[in-house]
Symmetry: C2
Subunit: 139 residues, 2 copies
Amino acid sequence: METFSIGRAAIDVGVSTRAIRLWEARGLIPPAQRTASRYRLYSEADLSSMKFIRQAKLLGLTLGEIKRILETRQAGTVPCDEVRRLIDRRVADIDCTIAELTRLRATLDVARCHSQTPAMDPASNGVCLIIETANPLDS
Amino acid sequence: METFSIGRAAIDVGVSTRAIRLWEARGLIPPAQRTASRYRLYSEADLSSMKFIRQAKLLGLTLGEIKRILETRQAGTVPCDEVRRLIDRRVADIDCTIAELTRLRATLDVARCHSQTPAMDPASNGVCLIIETANPLDS
DNA sequence: ATAGAACGTTGCCCGTGGGGCAAGGTCAAT
DNA sequence: ATTGACCTTGCCCCACGGGCAACGTTCTAT
């Protein structure tokens, strides 16, 4: 069975070696097999597992969420329902974030173009009217 | 001159006492005056300064950016040009983030509704087809 | 006056997902 | 044998505080 060093694995999976060690420390992947000199060794199955993690991360799941998915799967259960719930939550979260950012963007636009935003009088106590007169709509 | 404890200041400014201490440690506000028993004391001017920081934070500026703005102002320069640049960058950043999130949202929508996304065969080696067959458009 | 509540002080560890660097051990090719 | 590329662990760093500990101070009520 072919094995891969952490560097090869990182290139193959498309992440950094740091990420792989972090995933191990966080329990997303089991402690790697080691050579006599303590080098980590990975199998193709390990690479597949890491590719799943990378893919899940690209979808915006956190390491904690991914860990739970993997644990569910390892317990023999198909985690698709859980995944669907996570994705639903994530979508709701994204919508919320987009709405917030859109509001903030509008506020910044208004502030920046605020009728020739008078420059702060250097002698006054204020710092910058662009900021001080802005009216954030965010909660 | 009326002075305020850190708790009063926090309430008046609308932030936590932790935040105020952090801003001091980060150099956004000068080390507070102290009572004989080392309690921090703030003047109205201090409160104004903190309100500026809070306002700038609401606009999405980082503590580092705010610090530089305050330093510019303290050097006697009106920081409005700098602020305008920061806001421009922030707006560009927001647009970029919104675009990314929109793409991700679309990917998640497709993945979730992926024609009755077949449940993973518990005997296979995969984890979850919803994730494995998703096709993130993000870079 | 004194007890206890409410406030203040420092300090440390936690999160997210690693990056950067250091000081060293190992492997491959020349 | 040496050199360069790789690996190991460990520690501190990023933003912005939250939570808790252990302890000192001030205020309030009885």
